[in-house]
């Protein structure tokens, strides 16, 4: 067991192609990451859930016309797990809990990928603008970021989804609006760090365009904190999304873990624990897996770069 996680500094000396340095160090990175057992567990879990999500149409018969709607068997309401043909039991509307787990993974994957992709893009663009332009623009943008950060995430997303109307699409939108700010900060910090270095002036003098500096020095070095944040967010977003669905902001009968837990609540006083326990467990496992990997990455990569949360 490694005593202190071996730190692999990914900040490359400026000027040398940071990309080449990175690729060279990837083998080291991989080794260090895999040396941490909890990170490995996280990776295994992620691979497991991704497989389930991607293979969903193969693992179960997709529901028609909309596979993301739970299939209902009105003749088999509230079946306990292990009975009949329903491995994990059925809900109070005859929904197959196992189907919900599998397609819920797919739903979660969609949710997290879309939101993370959107927030990383928007965040880096805005952060880049703030970092590059500096001055007035920077001040204004950062105040906007501060305002967004002063509203607690769940509450902000809750309010947005509430005014937009209860639907899963609006949950995605609400989460995207709330979660872009940290990426903006990361990007901006990276740019400022580079800007403040004399090297850049020298490079400018020698004719290097801003774009080249951006691509060659800034992006690669921002890459690591961005990746760590994105990994953590993959887990966190599904957690918050499931909470919003649980509160009731998604459509009825959706094959989504939060919705299932909410619909399964009604039976617990009668001893019907399975409809809410299994889907909730999946949310936990999903968030745990990405947290483990995200933490492992953060330990191994240069920890002095800014990683919020």
């Amino acid at each position: 067991m490694v005593d202190i996680p071996r730190r692999i500094p990914m900040t490359a000396p400026l000027g040398e192609s940071a990309w080449r340095v990175r690729i060279r160090r990837w083998r080291d990175l991989l080794a260090a990451v895999l040396a941490n057992p909890t990170t490995v567990i996280g990776l295994i879990l992620i691979v497991g859930m991704l497989s389930v999500a991607l293979l969903a149409p193969v693992l179960t018969e997709p529901n028609t016309p909309d596979p993301y709607q739970m299939p209902r068997d009105w003749a088999a309401l509230n079946e306990p797990p292990g009975s009949s043909e329903y491995l994990l039991g059925t809900t109070n509307t005859g929904g197959d809990v196992l189907y919900g787990i599998i397609w819920g993974a797919r739903t979660s994957l969609r949710l997290s990928l879309i939101v993370v992709a959107a927030t990383v893009t928007v965040g880096t663009i805005i952060g880049s603008i703030a970092g590059y332009r500096g001055g007035r623009v920077d001040e204004i943008l950062m105040r906007v970021v501060d305002v967004f950060l002063s509203i607690p995430e769940l509450i902000f997303a809750l309010a947005i989804a509430a005014v937009l109307g209860p639907s899963f699409r609006n949950i995605i939108l609400a989460l995207a609006v709330v979660f872009w700010v940290k990426y903006a900060r990361i990007m901006r910090a990276q740019i400022i760090h580079v800007k403040s270095n004399d090297y850049v002036d020298a490079a400018r003098v020698s004719g290097d365009s801003g774009w080249r500096i951006y691509l060659r020095d800034i992006l690669p070095n921002a890459f690591t904190p961005l990746i760590v944040q994105a990994t953590l967010d993959m887990g966190h977003i599904v957690l918050v999304g499931a909470t919003l669905s649980f509160i009731g902001l998604a459509e009825a009968g959706l094959a989504e873990w939060g919705v299932l837990v909410s619909e399964g609540q009604a039976g617990i006083s009668a001893g019907r624990w399975w409809a809410s326990t299994f889907p909730g467990l999946m949310v936990f496992v999903w968030a745990l897996a990405f947290n483990l990997v995200g933490d492992g990455l953060r330990d191994v990569l240069d920890p002095r770069t800014e990683t919020a949360r």
Partner: protein
């Protein structure tokens, strides 16, 4: 000098942030529902509705509307809550008291357990207790509160019947006065032990549930800062001097490790604030969070806006205080010891 500048700078930004938050909240009211939705009540007739529209200048451009809305807010007009069938400001204090009681109870649990656990783990780095604590911390951060709460509910309420849900037992509630709205405090003020026990008994399960995640946050921070602290030179020096481990721990390391832990107070507070929504739903706790959840489902704009405004301001304030305190402490540590 630096500290004062820092504090001043933070204070100067504060109004900007407050206004910015209010603009966001105002925009939310314009995005969904009707613009005067927050003021409409079930009983109003057409004439009253028209009067409202006039008063808030709905025909004028948005910035003007914003000013009138903000003016209304500053005058204490937060609208009518459809969920509570009463003005927001009338219902708010009681719900606030309920949520505060829960938050404080959870915080007490979290601080005591978190500091203890973090210390325990940090002092035994990389041995079994440390790993177990690490698992606990990560599980706390990944734990969907709604699932955890339901699990505890199934075990402790449905099956074992050890804990109740809701905030109090009707008869016991009725037999003492409630000046503060905090049932534990009210019971102490009345000298009624039975009422105090009843209040704590109802508080226990939600506080433990909500406290779990917060404990994880604090434990984790405590652990890592203690680990760093123990690597400092003065620790080796103290050990070399022959000081018992306990004393090293108690007198120096832990105290110093507590300082970075202050920084997670903001984080913990945010966690408690957001977790309260779900915890109150599941444990049927009549606080702000549950009110908000009902409001969200029933399109009660006024409550939603008031809640967002309030929690943001609170969050802002707490973070400011924490940052300032930390800056102050950090400076001391750097200069002294």
């Amino acid at each position: 000098m630096q500290i004062r500048d820092y504090i001043l700078r933070r204070l100067m930004i504060l109004p900007v942030l407050v206004i910015g938050t209010s603009i966001i909240v105002f925009s939310l009211t314009r995005v969904g529902g009707s613009p005067i939705g927050i003021y409409l009540s079930h009983e109003m007739n057409a004439a009253e509705v028209a009067a409202l529209e006039q008063r808030f200048h709905l025909d004028d451009p948005l910035p003007v509307q914003y000013l009138y809305w903000a003016g209304g807010v500053l005058r204490g007009d937060l609208g009518w809550s459809g969920v509570a069938a009463a003005p927001v400001t009338q219902v708010f204090p009681a719900k606030l008291a309920a949520s505060m009681e829960l938050a404080v109870a959870s915080a007490i649990v979290a601080v005591i357990l978190g500091v203890a656990l973090g210390t325990y783990a940090g002092a035994r780095r990389n041995r079994l207790p440390d790993h177990l604590t690490r698992i606990f911390s990560i599980s706390g951060a990944s734990m969907p509160l709604f699932w955890f709460a339901i699990l505890l509910l199934i075990v402790f309420w449905v099956n074992l019947g050890w804990f109740p849900i809701g905030r109090s037992t009707a008869e016991i509630f009725a037999r003492i006065p409630h000046p503060t709205g905090l049932y534990t405090v009210d019971a102490i003020l009345s000298g009624d032990l039975g009422a105090l026990v009843d209040a704590v008994w109802h508080l226990a399960l939600p506080a433990l549930t909500l406290g779990y995640g917060a404990t994880a946050i604090i434990a984790r921070m405590m652990r890592s800062s203690l680990v760093e602290e123990l690597q400092e030179e003065y620790v080796d020096a103290a050990r070399a001097k022959g000081l018992p481990e306990r004393l090293v721990l108690r007198r120096h390391a832990r105290r110093n490790a507590l300082i970075p832990t202050v920084t997670v107070i903001g984080l913990t507070f945010g966690f408690l604030l957001q977790g309260a929504v779900v915890a109150e739903i599941i444990f049927r706790w009549p606080g702000l969070g549950r009110w908000m959840a009902d409001a969200v489902l029933r399109g009660d704009q006024a409550t939603i806006m008031a809640y967002v405004m309030f929690t943001s301001l609170l969050f802002l304030f707490v973070n400011l205080v924490v940052d300032v305190v930390y800056a102050y402490l950090d400076r001391r540590v750097v200069l002294g010891a």
